[in-house]
Symmetry: C2
Subunit: 335 residues, 2 copies
């Protein structure tokens, strides 16, 4: 009898999640039913957006709020151990929105994404730069932001999984990349390791405006926003005519009330746009996007930072690290 | 010696403008200098957006704040009485951003728009439905909103100059038009005179959400926003996947601090966009747009409501009427 350890939602987070909101539960794996497959999970991907399903009454009909006491919903990458589905065979690697567990049992369905058999990258990249995280950076930048050579691309949470890739994609497209991150150490890593052209330290609130002016002397043409909240209001004061704000995430507002920007009229006076998007609705274009990102990685044009922890007991704390800003690069846990 | 009466900015408005913020001043017209032309103004167009230049320190380098004691900047339509410019001849009709005055003296330049010699519409239409007002509705709807047949177009300040046209253009493009206005009388006029499919009375704040749900049972695909502020937050809760918010104006925020929407994350979950625009940057397309609007008017597909006052002394009060919501249709003063 195989034992399975899951991370369950022990308490609904009050604002930012804390490690005590999560608990480990061990149980015996049931037998596979018809059409089910058993996955041994190798990586859990930590993504701040899942915080949105942790509040009572959050979510919607399609994806309701996570139940208390049940395994926490998340993105996992696993290997098929056993299959009662004709579609998947043992040994195949798949990704899906499942739960924070050592083993998963799931229906083989449309929502399981098969990894390519020939892989040029480490396994963890498939939930990171080659998964929804990197694809968010890719689609947000190439489909919506569309920076032109010489333009300035400003990225918030630039040290995060998406942000660390977004600025580099902007540079490949010919733009100057400026990253916003918390603290001098992260800002330095953005400049030295990820080759961001300049950085803004949002923890120095007092001179945020002068930092933005100095880092973006020609104004902001693209704001790739992973944060929302008060920072968005600051940035809107610096946008150029025709600027594109790409709303990728809003970690500042997840699970906590946050005032909206009072200066949205900047969109009118600057003839600018603010556009939200979801990556998973572009699943038909994943192969093309993943191939392009792989080429850029192979050519050394994209550096891939990872914040990797080990063991199922680290999943909850690693999720909390996202909100504390402790991570640099894509946050994953290896099981 | 011709006497000229001007409306000057007597006091900077505190929030919404009041009639006492404006004063009449009479002076003798000077002689024309070389290259200048003298206009006898027939219509003053009242546009809420000009409120943005009435505060101390407002505006920018290109268009700074209006000076206290000087004639108020606005859109006027006048007839050339005398010309020392080779470009304009007496008798021609022109429009320009000049000031609230009976007569204007100006340099002949790029900013004077000549009316066509053959006119199919009343003169006042050229500052209204065939001027920046109607063109804002036209470009906002055809360039940005692009409603598809069967979609729902929601218009705020639907009884205003722009809003009264925007919904009708939406209907011509095949959409269902829903108008937001203040009070049962205006809402009734939207439905009966302008053929809006349904209306929402924003003065009934208590049941705004249920009104929106009932008037837009299939959700909102296009929000043509002339108001901004708190109403935008209400509407964002009702947008559909792929919705387009067209930011045309934000009368609720002009000259008064206004909280921003706290639910901008709706743009992400609905993959929606919010786009601001200015009409005057599309001046090269005015002839095409004006011809299209004229055809729709001739065919009876667009009804043109006007809120018309008479006499230079009515210009200040008519401007205040915009903010009190007293107007229905385009607000103009005939001189």
């Amino acid at each position: 009898m195989t034992q399975n350890v899951s991370v369950v939602l022990a308490a609904r987070p009050n604002g930012k999640p804390r490690p005590s909101d999560f608990e480990l539960v061990e149980e015996t794996l049931p037998e596979l039913a018809a059409s089910e497959i058993l996955l041994k999970n190798h990586y859990v991907s930590l993504d701040a957006g899942f915080r949105n399903w942790m509040d009572e009454g959050s979510g919607d009909d399609v994806l309701p709020a996570m139940p208390l006491g049940a395994p926490v919903m998340g993105l996992v990458l696993g290997e098929v151990l056993a299959s009662r589905s004709p579609e998947f065979a043992p040994g195949e690697m798949v990704m899906a929105r499942l739960a924070w567990q050592q083993y998963s049992i799931t229906d083989a369905g449309d929502f399981l994404v098969r990894l390519p058999e020939k892989r040029e990258a480490p396994l963890s990249y498939y939930v990171g730069v080659l998964g929804d995280t990197g694809l968010s950076a890719y689609f947000g930048m190439t489909d919506i932001a569309k920076p032109r050579p010489g333009e300035t691309v400003l990225v918030s949470a630039a040290g995060g999984g998406v942000g660390s890739i977004a600025g580099q994609v902007g540079q490949i497209l010919g733009a100057r990349a400026v990253g916003i991150a918390g603290g001098p150490e992260k800002c330095a890593r953005l400049r030295t390791e990820l080759h961001y052209d300049d950085t803004v330290d949002y923890q120095r609130e007092a001179d945020l405006d002068s930092q933005l002016r100095s880092a973006c002397p020609d104004g902001v043409d693209v704001y790739f926003d992973n944060v929302g909240g008060a920072l968005l209001e600051n940035v809107l004061e610096h946008i150029n005519e025709g600027a594109r704000v790409v709303s990728c995430g809003a970690v500042a507002t997840y699970g906590q009330p946050s005032a909206g920007p009072t200066n949205l009229f900047q969109l009118v006076t600057k003839q600018a746009s603010m556009t939200g998007f979801l990556t998973h609705t572009r699943a038909d274009r994943y192969p093309e996007a993943r191939a392009q990102l792989q080429r850029w990685i192979n050519a050394g044009q994209i550096v891939v930072p990872e914040y990797c922890k080990d063991g199922i007991e680290q999943v909850g704390p690693a999720f909390c690290d996202l909100f504390a800003g402790n991570n640099f690069g894509k946050t994953v846990v290896r099981l």
